[in-house]
Amino acid sequence: MKNAARKTWVRVLCAVLAVLFAGGMAACGCLTANLANYGAYSGADETQFEGSVMLDQLRQDADSVAAAYMYRGASGYDTSELTTRYSSSVSNFCFAVTNSAGNVMLSNYSYGTVRLRTTYTLGFNTNGADYEVRCGVRETLTANDGYSRLSARSDGAFAARGWILSGFCVFGVLSLALLVWLCWAAGRREDADGVKARWIDRIPCDLYTAALILLFSVPMAAGPLANGSPDFTDAGRVYYVLVGAVGAYWMALCLLFFMSWTVRIKLGGWWKNSVVYYVLRWLKKPACSLGRLIKSLPLIWKTALIVLAVLILQLIAYSSRNGLVWFLVNAAAALAVLYAALYGRKLRAAASAMAGGRFEEKVDTSKMRGEFRAHGEDLNRIGDGIALAVEERMKSEHMKTELITNVSHDIKTPLTSIINYVDLLKSEDVQPEKAREYIDVLDRQSQRLRKLTEDVIEASKASTGNIPVELDREDMNVLLQQAAGEYEDKLREKGLEPVLDLCPGALEIMADGRLLWRVFDNIMSNAVKYAMPGTRVYITSRLAGGRAEAVFRNISAAPLNISAEELMERFTRGDSSRSTQGSGLGLSIAESLAKLQKGSFSIDIDGDLFKAIVSFDAAK
């Protein structure tokens, strides 16, 4: 089958056969329909069949007789013309016009004596009187006319009615089978495997189909088929041949249609080879560039265009006086405004989340369009950038703390040896006296180095928040008393007098007692180091506007010719000579630690008056 399907001549033969069979089927089908129409397949015998075939002709002749008789009185018309027209030598048609009384008015045969077959009676009225035309066909055919030909043909057709019906079925089945097989074989070739398109298959499919439909409808519009089917008259023969030809023509068109479509569908992508597709594709580019042009317009222009479009639509809707159109236009405009508001709100929420430091919150831009989407994506990028920067910074701060802590720990070991051996040296009886002074310097400086190492670790941890903080309810007044008590002796040694002036009752705050002590510790040790001997150190507390404040005041021994901000910076000390003990980190540590507990630390300089203020939210 496959090999046969590949051979061109086989397919051409099959196509020709299919066309011929289709022609046969059409002709036989038409004949069968006529036969069936006159009852050949529904039990009529030959005489009945012939009679019903002749009846049409009989009616026509009866009509013309009646019409002619009606004009009998008209000038120049002789009813004898009828009798000559239908004389027994030229016609087998017999008629008799009778009046209402049954008297024969006009006849072309001896009424009542001749045997008739297939009779017909037509009643008519003329000049106010009723008449009848009684007509029929002679039993014995005397003339060679339409009736004798009808008789002969209908007899033949009736005798062959079985063959004609089976011819219709056989031709039909064969041509349909060939059509199916040809479709299956379509596109195969002798010289190649698979399905190949021919030139005919390359015609755009919609054009091709339209052309075939046009060709298909030609015989229906212009052909003899439009006038209905003549039966077994002379015209009938030509008619059946024509029907066969049209059937064959249609079959040929069907073959062209189905075979080509089979090939197209087999090859796939048939819709791409169509005029509609080409037109759409051709339109795509300008449509896209128009879209891009609109997209690239500035937002103001775009908005103006939209507003203009809405206005024009409104105008159209208004002038059309159609309530539905008006409603649809306004509903669309309202939806657009809602859309803008919805996404505006989303973008606003994302921006405020970002402002609040939550950079990981992203705008969902998947459902946004145009400017909103661009804006949302920009916001996301800003968030990503900041989050990355923050993370990098945290990492680097952490590494810095780690480095400082590790280095400081490593310094501690050799420092231990230095302190210990300096101490051992001190216990030896070292000569000369100058050497003892040097040892004292070593002792002092090694102790200072020790303090400095500890402060560096604490400062780096406090400033990066690398200290565990446990906030609890603490009484600031109690802590101030404790701090003052701890420092009482040290202050008095330096000739300083502590003055404690605390607000009455408890001053409760949320803080980490240990860390807050370190804050006060630093402030107090600062006072011990830098306050002018013989002055007072004031420690006061108060509750002001929901804030609990601890204020430390002392008079600086050295002139404070630097600003509070500078004093707060790391390694800055009240005396620029750096001769006294201290790392210069105390205030910076105090500030960091206060911040860690959500408190604040500030200093104030007024002449030589040094003021440190620690404040926290009063606990509820």
């Binding site: 040896s417 210990n420 008393q481 008590g485 002796d489 007692g513």
Partner: protein
């Protein structure tokens, strides 16, 4: 004579400690890592160990755990780390005390002495009811004396009363106001400061390092408490 094992990977620190300890009359053994220390403890009669935490081969914490498997000899850890979490870890694995580098020779000697006293006097005879004891701290209410690791310290009557009040309820935080009321027997009107000064003085007398007290702790912002030690 008590034997002390000094273990640190820094030879200079070990020699310095040996000089101080032998000067104070102790027999000194030296080790430079955890494994050495375990060997010395197995072979010699050792009454106290000074152990560095960060050492090569076997670190102090591991050595500490190994020592505790066999003996309850007092161990004082020496370390450069000074965070509270490290101290807690050290004490949890069984150390008796903790000294952070860089340390003072005097402080080391005081702590060594304190640990040895407690270790050697453990389980000594019955005491009268009037004696309050917390660790190496001993308060005799009858005789009005206070001893730290067997050495008597002199306290003023106020200091004595405050210490007794705190030792009566170890582990409890007592606010300064409460202390004032109970000791001075009057309402404090802006005078709680006096309590803080007295507590500071007591700590200077009974603690080896008043800034890092073992017994009398300052609970900042709340009050004072006596640590509950056996």
């Amino acid at each position: 004579m008590y034997n002390v094992l000094v273990c640190d990977d820094e030879k200079d620190i070990v020699s310095a400690l040996r000089i101080y300890l032998s000067g104070a009359g102790y027999g000194v053994f030296e080790a430079y890592n955890g494994a050495d220390a375990l060997r010395v403890i197995a072979g010699e009669s050792i009454q106290l160990v000074l152990l560095d935490i960060m050492m090569p081969q076997m670190d102090g914490i591991t050595a500490m755990a190994k020592i505790r498997e066999r003996s309850n000899v007092p161990v004082i850890l020496l370390t450069a780390k000074s965070e509270d979490t490290d101290k807690v870890l050290g004490l949890n694995v069984g150390a008796d005390d903790y000294i952070t580098k860089p340390f003072n020779p005097a402080e080391v000697l005081a702590r060594v002495k304190s640990q040895l006293r407690r270790y050697m006097q453990l389980g000594s005879g019955a005491e009268p009811q009037s004696v309050l004891r917390i660790g190496g701290l001993e308060l005799d209410d009858g005789a009005k004396t206070v001893k730290v690791d067997g050495d008597e310290v002199w306290l003023t009557p106020r200091e004595f009363d405050i210490l007794r009040l705190l030792m009566q309820s170890p582990g409890t935080v007592v606010p300064p106001r409460e202390i004032y009321r109970r000791v001075w027997q009057e309402e404090p009107i802006g005078a709680e400061n006096a309590v803080a000064v007295h507590v500071r003085h007591i700590r200077e007398k009974i603690e080896i390092n008043p800034a890092e007290p073992r017994y009398l702790k300052v609970v900042w912002g709340k009050g004072y408490k006596m640590e509950a030690i056996k």
